[in-house]
Symmetry: C2
Subunit: 200 residues, 2 copies
């Protein structure tokens, strides 16, 4: 099985800029990618290709047009995924498995025969992909998971990584002093240590 | 099994005020509660008590201190849950099952013997509840689900309800003309109809 991970090496994760410097954002993105690749490896999947996420649809559709072996397209900013998620998804009997992110995203896409499909990651890609599968007459499974849904794009998303993360990316946040803070009974993410908080 | 649903009848869901009027917020909250109660009913659970969510910890801890029958505490703003989620959680062998919401929330809490536990919904309640169970020596299962994690508090959360919802609450949003809009390739929620969007 071929694994495709779209990844932007430079200048990504700009919505984390209220809290993280450009180099910190780049390092965090790299650690998240390492967590994902390490999880894939634990699931026995080593044939991983990192592709540019510029012009993502065109890049991916060119790849899948000529692919008839099963393919997993997985986002690099999913530091909470485990090998169990990957094995659950790749052992599905359906033609297509879509695991949603928030706001209609597609965080993991499994294609039994990629050549019968085309991707469209613009907008509500979860709905796009459901529709494309339906149009082509493919059987689809929606694989819903909180951990898979947690893509890390915004400062608030870092809370999920701090609370539920166990890999290098969450360790990195700890190392640079990014932690949870409770204000008005609600959880926020900021620099420094919060005093009145149970540590994960 | 006893089911407890904390619910604020008047003036809740203030963070939806950028898009919804006070009466719309109240109606949406009622429809979400109906969706939750209907899902519980489908799971065969009819002994549902709605309790005030003012002074929630005190209210709940008073109830559970004298309860030795299994209890499910479930939030009323989880319109994406299904009876399968409920049955998965209540058939667990562990003493405590915690299903996280975003930002460290506890969206569903299952207690086999409530009298051995106390709740603390302030701040990162997911971490609080893990710690309390550990302190008392209770076996805990974390039940992770995207659908259970989607509590509807903010305007952005409505996207999840529009995309994944199938009950009365999502129908209500449709009726009052709240829908997805794609701007800059990203999904937003607003009034009116978006032209370039695949409908769920």
């Amino acid at each position: 099985m071929k694994i495709i991970v779209p990844y932007k090496k430079k200048g990504g994760k700009s919505r984390l800029s209220p809290l993280l410097s450009p180099s910190e954002r780049e390092e965090l993105a790299e650690y998240m990618l390492e967590d994902v690749v390490s999880t894939l490896s634990k699931a026995g999947l080593e044939d991983v290709s990192i592709v540019s996420d510029e012009g993502l649809n065109a890049v991916l559709n060119k790849i899948i047009a000529n692919s008839t072996d099963p393919m997993l397209i997985i986002m690099p900013d999913l530091p909470l995924i485990s090998s169990e998620h990957i094995l659950d998804i790749t052992s599905s009997n359906e033609d297509v498995v879509i695991s949603p992110g928030r706001r209609g995203g597609t965080n993991i896409l499994f294609l039994r025969d990629p050549s019968t499909f085309r991707v469209d990651y613009n907008g509500a890609s979860f709905l796009n992909h459901l529709q494309i599968a339906k149009d082509v007459g493919l059987m689809t499974r929606v694989y819903e998971s909180f951990c898979v849904s947690c893509d890390i794009d915004e400062v608030d998303d870092l809370a999920e990584l701090i609370i539920h993360g166990r890999g290098k990316a969450s360790q990195y946040l700890n190392n640079i002093g990014v932690s949870l803070h409770i204000m008005g009974g609600r959880v926020h993410v900021n620099r420094g240590r919060s005093k009145d908080l149970i540590r994960p």
